[in-house]
Symmetry: C2
Subunit: 571 residues, 2 copies
């Protein structure tokens, strides 16, 4: 198409509210228009990118025997009540009543709809395994939409659901999907995406992986071992603690620590290290504000995902009232008063000579020996792994922590949904069983943003050919020149007829404006037709990624470009 007809404005200034580059370029290049917090309209260039991503997703899902279907965006609350998630999911699910006061929800994921679609079909073991997928709009009322298309409220997602009669079959299929995901990322230009073990969160199930693009602007922390191939999401990474214990235990002694509330203040006052202290972190159960006191080594942080997974309910940081019996800033494991659940992190197991709170205002204690003073304590893993920490697989102190964007995830769901929604089949022996599920998601807009994040320079995106809005950007510099006009028009026609996607700029603007617009549209190949070039019988062919810039004879240029695009489109 002709650039002067392309709806959307391009401009030079980086908008002040754009923190990440992909967001800035999508706004500056006329890709998106802000409609509301976390809600955007897409102009044609982005729509063309996302359609290409969607086609790649479709091809790879079909390749692993997926069947494209479509679930509704608006669903009756009833199917979410069946699974129990109508209650367990909070404000992120949009809910409303229809004209007859029936409660409806907007789909933020479609496990319930998938089970609903296939539960009559899948009544015999002979029908298994099968997988259905869709590419559809979803809405999730995120508390903090951010970074343009990275975290939005309304988004298009490819979500797939597989059904199996055995864990082995699920695992085999899960592996195929993992490979399909690797192919997808390679095809869209992100072969460097890694998969990391992750926590399954509200999805249920045990084994799951997130696909991560490592980048400083990512909002996820990824734990990577430099010595073996261990990779995990921070939420899922086990924190290994080297056992430590002094040979001699000192006596448990109360000390006056006026004004020292935080671990840092207490340690400075008592001249010890935070790693030799026992810190109390207090939460409250969301449902009824019941207190949960977690003791952990003073230098470690609590991994709240591990905590809520262990508890089986959601909690929030506590507000400690005068009536509750807890003495804020001075809580310790010995002589703890107040009604609360008490938990101990593994980092305290076997430790002695620790500093802790004395459960009395302005007082701490020294010489805490967990074995001697806290009888019967059970220890679990609640701590966040730290840079330089111990790898849970190879055991070396080789953990690094990187930032990343999650660009996909896959889950082994087990029977969480088929049990709660009572989907059954008869097995070979005529016995009733619940099928085992897997699910597999990729957000289309976020993937487009991640590609842009990874592939850009100071002037705009550098779209990989496979997802570029157009394949060739044809610039007719001085289209009022008769020879330029005739040649460029002919090339536009010939390329288009050969099935090449061309954006054609024949505007009466300076070469500078033309090129900066072309940079913002990020089309991989650029052809420049100008009076000067014409005189030499050539056109200029350059790559957006600056990997080459060549003069091509006007005689053969069109054919060479067609071949170049066709050759590089092959996968």
């Amino acid at each position: 198409m002709k650039l002067d007809r392309l709806v959307g404005d391009r401009f030079r200034e980086r908008p002040a509210d754009c923190i990440v580059d992909s967001h800035a370029f999508m706004v500056r290049g006329g890709y998106v228009k802000y409609v509301a917090n976390g809600i955007f309209s897409s102009y044609t260039p982005l729509k063309r990118v996302t359609k290409k991503i969607e086609q790649i997703l479709r091809e790879e899902m079909d390749r692993v025997d997926g069947q494209e279907v479509q679930f509704p965006v608006v669903m009756p609350a009833s199917i979410w009540q069946e699974s129990g998630r109508y209650e367990s999911i909070g404000k992120e699910m949009a809910r409303f009543n229809d004209r007859n006061s029936s409660p409806l929800v907007l789909g933020m994921t479609h496990e319930e709809a998938a089970v609903h679609l296939v539960r009559e079909y899948g009544q015999s073991y002979l029908k298994y395994p099968f997988m259905v997928y869709q590419i559809q709009t979803k809405f999730r009322d995120e508390a903090r939409p951010r970074a343009g298309l990275i975290r939005v409220r309304e988004f298009t997602m490819k979500d797939a659901y597989s059904f199996h009669t055995s864990q082995e079959d699920l695992e085999e299929y899960y592996k195929r999907c993992h490979e399909a995901y690797e192919r997808i990322y390679a095809r869209v230009g992100l072969p460097q995406v890694i998969s990391v073990a992750s926590d399954s969160g509200m999805m249920g199930g045990s084994v799951s992986h997130e696909f991560m693009l490592l980048t400083g602007i990512g909002e996820d922390s990824i734990v990577i071992c430099n010595d073996c191939d261990y990779k995990a999401n921070m939420e899922a990474a086990e924190c290994i603690i080297k056992p430590m214990r002094d040979e001699v235990s000192k006596e448990f002694e109360k000390v006056h620590t006026p004004g020292a509330h935080t671990i840092e203040e207490v340690c400075e006052f008592l001249k010890c290290e935070p790693k030799d202290s026992c810190k109390a972190v207090v939460y409250q159960r969301n449902a009824d504000d019941h207190y949960v006191v977690l003791f952990i080594r003073g230098d470690l942080e609590v991994n709240e995902t591990k905590l809520t997974n262990f508890l089986g309910y959601d909690v929030h940081p506590a507000i400690i009232t005068d009536e509750c019996g807890l003495v804020a800033g001075f809580i310790g494991p010995v002589g703890l008063k107040g009604e609360c659940t008490v938990l101990y992190d593994r980092s305290l197991m076997g430790r002695n000579n620790l500093v802790c709170g004395a459960n009395e205002a302005e007082h701490h204690a020294t010489g805490l020996d967990m074995q001697r003073d806290v009888k019967g304590a059970e220890y679990h893993d609640f701590a966040k792994i730290q840079e330089g920490g111990i790898c849970p697989v190879c055991g070396k102190e080789s953990i690094t922590i990187s930032r990343g964007i999650e660009v996909g995830n896959i889950f082994q769901l087990g029977t969480k949904y088929t049990k709660s929604m009572d989907m059954t089949y008869l097995d070979k022996d005529g016995k009733t069983q619940h099928p085992i599920m897997g699910c597999y998601g990729i957000g289309v807009g976020r993937l487009a943003a991640a590609i842009c994040e990874e592939h850009h320079d100071d002037y705009g995106p550098i779209w990989p050919l496979s997802v570029a809005p157009w394949q060739v950007h044809l610039c007719a510099v001085r289209a009022d020149d008769e020879e330029v006009r005739a040649y460029a028009d002919k090339m536009y026609e010939d390329l288009t007829n050969a099935g090449i996607e061309v954006i054609y700029d024949d505007r009466k603007v300076s070469a500078g404006v033309m090129f900066s617009d072309a940079d913002l549209l990020g089309v991989p190949y650029r052809v420049i037709v100008s009076p000067r070039n014409m005189k030499q019988g050539v056109v200029e062919l350059t790559a957006r990624d600056k990997s080459f810039s060549e003069s091509k004879s006007t005689e053969t240029a069109t054919e060479e470009i067609i071949n170049l695009v066709r050759e590089n489109l092959k996968f």
Copy 2:
């Protein structure tokens, strides 16, 4: 793909709740699954049909210089408040508040979003005209979803919005879109779709057309002249009345009509025809129940669209209370009491010797002369046109009324949205102007259902090749026969490699089950490979529409089928 892997059940019995054939076949053939009233999931066969329809829509929209974009499904109330429709649209728009109590709506149409997307872009006359379109999920909380996919609450729609600097330019473009729509219907197998002038309803604007498939199950009434090419939606059709007046006016006289309330009862009692009576039809304004009394000839019905368009507000049939002053069943234009708006239909203009109510219980009057007795009455067109009525274009009494399904609509919107949302551009002379809009919609699912309605037999749909879920249905009858298996497998592979879409049935089921499943899937070409055929060195090639059934040599069958599909796919 192989039929035995296709998710979804097919069955013989017509479900009791399916009134129309397309609904019954879509349920029986494993195309849709009911989720909630007016909300369905689609299985793969329907998804494949709708994707093909969408691709045809895309190609035809691109051909009239449309640019594909995407608006959000969830929109902030604010842009609907700008246009005024947040208030004027009723319960059919779904509304909810997000976690921060900001009001959001689900898009049922996207004029507001379109203006929002382009109002910065379109600030100079040089940018015009342009058109943007999307294919996207919409939700409209219909009071009465019905007939399967014909009238649903959630649906996928192609909606397009054009912007112009003059009415002439809009009209020219509107014509191009009309032609694009004709091509679309022809391409999906419905060349018989007609366009009719229609009422613009809540969309605003004056000129609009609906595209109608005439069918007995349609919910719209279409007025068609058998003598000229006049066609209109019932709502928009002008009702022409032949002037009538007796030479001599009788006296206005009150008569006792005990127990006669309806027009029929009164006319029988007074021995006259309904067409010689003046009927009162009473409404109330939705906002405040203010009464509106409309007098119309006794044999005519009120066209409520004309009424509300005239009034400028919505009304509902009245509940006449004792206090309001109106005497239900005996209302007449002479001596009418009570506070109300009084209107007169054109059918009463100049009439005399009419029967009417006397505004007194159990009494009517005869000898009503509108000229003599109802001074200063203004007459407007509020009547529904009737079968055999007068054509407003050619003037002949040649009107027939048909049922139809609306499968698309186009509107000249004018400046309703650009004015209310303050979208302006500078014209050639530097003057600020509001652009003029057109909009163009087609519902994808309804179009699929309409195609099925029009193209089916007693056994299932007969999909046109252009939108069929697959192009060839390959039946291997007795696939356990070695020769059958080898030949059919090879044909499946060869056809698939040639880019032909094949559904391959190699199940161990009877030929009867195979063929009835094939009928339900409605694939245009069917190939039967069986032991008996193999012995004769042939396969059987039949058309789903029964237009041919031929034996083809096993040597050449594959190639012939490839050619047949390619030849017939050309448009």
